[in-house]
C-alpha cells in the first residue's frame, strides 16, 4: 500500500447481466487524495461500477485495482482498505448509534486499544456526540448518513466509496455532508463518490460522466465545460416558450435547443454569427425575444450536449 500514485485504476472493465451490458469497457484512474465524482443518470452503471470496485460484484472482464490490490484476486485485501457507503441506507436500524459503530469497528478489526479513540473520533466527525444511545432508525436522514460515513471510516481506510451519499436529504444537509467529504480528502483519503446532482459534481476535483455504461467524458469540471461542449451556448428568453423551442429545433445552425427553467439553452456553432440570424428567425415567426446572449455552460449543459448526441447517433443505427 506504501507508495502508489493511483488509488483506483480501472482498465476495460465490463459487467454484463445476461444480455444487458451495465458497464461497458470503462477506463479510469483516481489519484491519491482526490475527490473523484462519478456522474450520470439513474441506471447508467454508477452503482454497478462502484460495487465491482468494492468486490461486491464480479467483473465480467477487465481489470480493477483498488488501493494497490486487484479486486478479483484479492477482494479481502481490498475490503480492509476501503470504506463503502451503499446507495440505500444500510446500517442496522434496530441498533443504537454506538452499537452500529462497535459492530463495524469489530468487522474491520480495529485494535482494542484504539477502539475508544476511533469511535470518539467518528462520533465527533459525524456530529453525533451525546446521541450514542439513540436507536438508529429514529435518526433524521442527514444524521443517518453521517453515521453511515462514520461507520465506513472507523478503520481509517485510504479509499472510500460513497454511492449517492446525499440522495434524499435536504440541500443544507447535503452541503454539510460535502464539507465532511472535503475534510476527509484533505486528510489524504481518496474519495470516489457517485451522484446524479449536477451541482454536486462541481465540488469534485475530477469527474467522469457515465451514460449507458460508457464513460462519455472525463476531466476536471472546468475541463469538461471547455472541451466537451460542441459549439457555444446561448441563453434565450422569449415568449411563448413552447413555440420558440419547436421553431428553434429546426432552425439553421442550431445543434440543440432545450428548456432550462423559464428560458432556453441553445447550442450553436458560433455565437457571434448566430445571434442576429436567430433574432430575425424568431421575429419572422412572431416570437418576442427579450434576451439572447452567450453564456458559460454548466455541467448539466455539457451532459445534455454529450448525451443527446449519443442518443440520436444510436437511434440512427439500424
Amino acid at each position: 500500500m506504501a507508495d502508489i500514485a493511483c488509488s483506483v485504476e480501472v482498465t476495460k472493465l465490463v459487467k454484463r447481466f445476461g444480455d444487458f451490458v451495465a458497464v461497458d469497457r470503462i477506463d479510469l484512474e483516481v489519484r491519491k487524495g482526490e475527490v473523484f465524482g462519478f456522474l450520470g443518470p439513474n441506471g447508467a452503471g454508477k452503482s454497478t461500477t462502484i460495487r465491482m470496485l468494492c468486490g461486491l460484484l464480479k467483473p465480467t472482464s477487465g481489470r480493477a485495482q483498488v488501493a494497490g490490490f486487484d479486486v478479483s484476486q484479492r477482494p479481502e485485501a481490498v475490503r480492509q482498505n476501503i470504506g463503502y457507503m451503499s446507495q440505500k441506507f444500510s446500517l442496522y436500524n434496530d441498533l443504537t448509534v454506538i452499537e452500529n459503530l462497535r459492530l463495524f469497528a469489530g468487522l474491520y478489526s480495529v485494535p482494542a486499544k484504539l477502539l475508544r479513540a476511533r469511535i470518539e473520533w467518528a462520533l465527533t466527525m459525524a456530529k453525533l456526540k451525546g446521541q450514542e444511545n439513540l436507536i438508529t432508525g429514529t435518526l433524521p436522514g442527514g444524521w443517518k448518513q453521517r453515521l453511515a460515513l462514520g461507520c465506513a471510516v472507523l478503520h481509517k481506510p485510504p479509499v472510500i466509496f460513497l454511492d449517492e451519499p446525499t440522495s434524499g436529504v435536504d440541500p443544507i444537509t447535503r452541503r454539510q455532508f460535502w464539507d465532511l467529504i472535503h475534510q476527509m480528502a484533505e486528510a489524504g483519503v481518496t474519495v470516489f463518490v457517485t451522484t446524479h446532482y449536477m451541482e454536486e459534481a462541481e465540488y469534485c476535483n475530477r469527474l467522469a460522466l457515465i451514460f449507458r455504461g460508457r464513460i462519455v467524458a472525463l476531466g476536471t469540471p472546468s475541463e469538461l465545460k471547455r472541451d466537451f461542449m460542441k459549439g457555444e451556448l446561448l441563453l434565450v428568453e422569449c415568449e411563448p416558450l413552447g413555440d420558440a423551442v419547436e421553431a428553434l429545433q429546426s432552425a439553421p445552425g442550431v445543434m440543440d435547443a432545450a428548456v432550462f427553467g423559464n428560458a432556453l439553452h441553445l447550442v450553436v456553432g458560433d455565437a457571434g454569427h448566430a445571434v442576429p440570424q436567430l433574432k430575425e428567425y424568431l421575429a419572422r415567426r412572431g416570437i418576442a425575444v427579450s434576451r439572447m446572449e452567450k453564456i458559460r455552460p454548466s455541467l448539466e449543459d455539457v451532459f445534455v450536449s454529450l448525451t443527446t448526441g449519443r442518443e440520436t447517433a444510436e437511434e440512427r443505427k439500424p
Partner: protein, 377 residues
C-alpha cells in the same frame, strides 16, 4: 477466520434478538405453548366414550349387560333413551359415540338358551377411533356372554369349572399407556425446527431484504464468520429451549425420563446443527423473509410434525412414505428422544440414529457454507 469479527457479528445478533419482541416471544413462549398444547390437547387415549342406550327389554339381564359397559374404563353411559330417533339424533350431534340397542326379547331368549343379538351403532367418522371402540365393544359383550353361559350351565346342574385361558400383559416403557408420554418427547423436535430453521431463515433473509447484507459483505468479515456469528446465538437459544421443553415434559406432565441428559443434549446439538444449516441455506436461496419462512416451515416443521414418527408411527405408513422418512433428520431425532425418555437407552445403542444425524449435520453444514458467497450476483 477472526474471532473479533465473528464475535462482532454474534454480539450484534444478540442485541437484535433482544430488541425484537416478536422473536423473543417466540423463543420464550413457544416451547411452553407447544408442550402444553400437545400435552393437554392431543390425547389419543379412548376413555369414557359417551354411550346412549335404548333398552327395549328393561329387564334384570339387560341391566347386567349395561353394568358391564359401565364398569369398563372405555365407556360411560351418558343417557338412556326411549326410541331410535333420539339415538340417531345423539349420534348426529356428537353427544354419543356409540348407541346400544337391547332388543325387547333379550332376557326371554337368554332364558330359552337361544342366540341373541345386541345392536351397536358406532360413529365411524373417525375410522381409527371406531375400530378401537368396536374391539372394546366385542370384548365387553363376550365377557358378559361367557358369564351367562357359565350361569346357565350351573343352573342346569352342570357345575363344571370351565378351563379359562387369558393373557397376562405387562406394558413396558409406557406403563400407564398414556399417549402423552409417547407424544411429548417428540415436541422437542418441533421446537427446534421452529427456532433453528424458521427464526434463522428470517434473520438472514432480513439482511438481504433491508440491504444491510450489502454493507456487511463490503467489510473484511468472512462468509464463515457471518454464518457462525449469526447462528451461534440461535444455537444457544435452541439448546435453552430444549432444556425448557424437557423440564416441562418431565416435571409437569410426568413423562418418564430414564436416559441421560448428556445423551439428550448431544443428540439435540446434532439436530440443532442440522436445522440451523437448513435455515441458513434456505435464507441464502430465498432472500426474502416471507419466502424463507414459508419454505422453512414446509421443509422442516411439517415433516417433523407428520413424518417423523412424532404423532403417527412410521411402521404404519405406506412403504413409499417410510422410505421418504429415511431422509428426514427429524425422524432420527424423534426416535432418539422417545428412546431416551421412555426406555433410557444408552448412547452406544443409539448409534443407529446418532450416526445418520451426525452425517446430516456435517453434510448440511457443508452445503450451507458453500451456498453463501460474499457477492451480490
Amino acid at each position: 477466520m477472526s474471532l473479533t469479527r465473528l464475535l462482532a457479528v454474534a454480539r450484534k445478533e444478540v442485541v437484535q434478538i433482544l430488541r425484537d419482541s416478536r422473536s423473543l416471544l417466540i423463543v420464550i413462549l413457544m416451547p411452553a405453548i407447544l408442550v402444553v398444547l400437545f400435552g393437554y390437547g392431543v390425547n389419543l387415549d379412548l376413555k369414557g366414550m359417551p354411550v346412549y342406550v335404548y333398552d327395549q327389554d328393561g329387564s334384570q339381564q339387560s341391566q347386567d349387560l349395561l353394568k358391564h359397559f359401565q364398569a369398563s374404563r372405555y365407556f360411560s353411559i351418558a343417557n338412556v333413551v326411549d326410541g331410535y330417533s333420539e339415538l340417531s339424533r345423539a349420534l348426529d350431534d356428537g353427544h354419543a359415540k356409540i348407541g346400544i340397542v337391547i332388543p325387547w326379547d333379550f332376557s326371554q331368549r337368554l332364558r330359552d338358551g337361544r342366540p341373541v343379538v345386541v345392536q351397536a351403532l358406532v360413529d365411524a367418522s373417525d375410522d381409527n377411533t371406531a375400530n378401537v371402540l368396536m374391539g372394546y365393544l366385542q370384548a365387553v359383550v363376550q365377557g358378559y356372554s361367557a358369564q351367562v353361559q357359565i350361569d346357565w350351565l350351573r343352573q342346569h346342574g352342570l357345575a363344571i369349572q370351565p378351563a379359562s385361558m387369558s393373557v397376562e400383559t405387562r406394558t413396558w416403557y409406557n406403563e400407564d399407556l398414556e399417549s402423552s408420554a409417547f407424544i411429548i418427547p417428540g415436541i422437542l423436535a418441533l421446537v427446534m425446527s421452529v427456532i433453528g430453521a424458521f427464526l434463522t431463515s428470517l434473520t438472514i433473509a432480513r439482511e438481504w431484504e433491508r440491504g444491510t447484507m450489502e454493507q456487511l459483505i463490503s467489510t473484511p468479515v468472512g462468509a464463515m464468520e457471518i454464518m457462525l456469528g449469526k447462528l451461534a446465538p440461535y444455537f444457544v437459544l435452541g439448546m435453552f429451549d430444549t432444556v425448557v421443553s424437557a423440564v416441562i415434559a418431565i416435571y409437569w406432565f410426568q413423562v418418564p425420563f430414564r436416559g441421560s441428559w448428556v445423551t439428550l443434549m448431544t443428540a439435540s446439538a446434532l439436530f440443532m446443527v442440522v436445522v440451523l444449516s437448513m435455515g441458513f441455506f434456505i435464507s441464502v436461496l430465498a432472500k426474502t423473509q416471507f419466502a424463507a419462512s414459508q419454505i422453512a416451515l414446509l421443509i422442516t416443521f411439517l415433516p417433523a410434525f407428520l413424518l417423523s414418527g412424532f404423532l403417527f408411527s412410521i411402521e404404519q405408513m405406506p412403504i413409499a412414505l417410510q422410505w421418504i422418512t429415511r431422509v428426514l433428520p427429524a425422524r432420527y431425532y424423534v426416535s432418539v428422544l422417545k428412546k431416551i425418555f421412555l426406555k433410557g437407552t444408552p448412547a452406544p445403542m443409539l448409534l443407529e440414529e446418532l450416526i445418520p444425524l451426525a452425517i446430516f449435520a456435517f453434510a448440511l453444514t457443508l452445503v450451507a457454507t458453500r451456498s453463501f458467497h460474499k457477492k451480490l450476483d
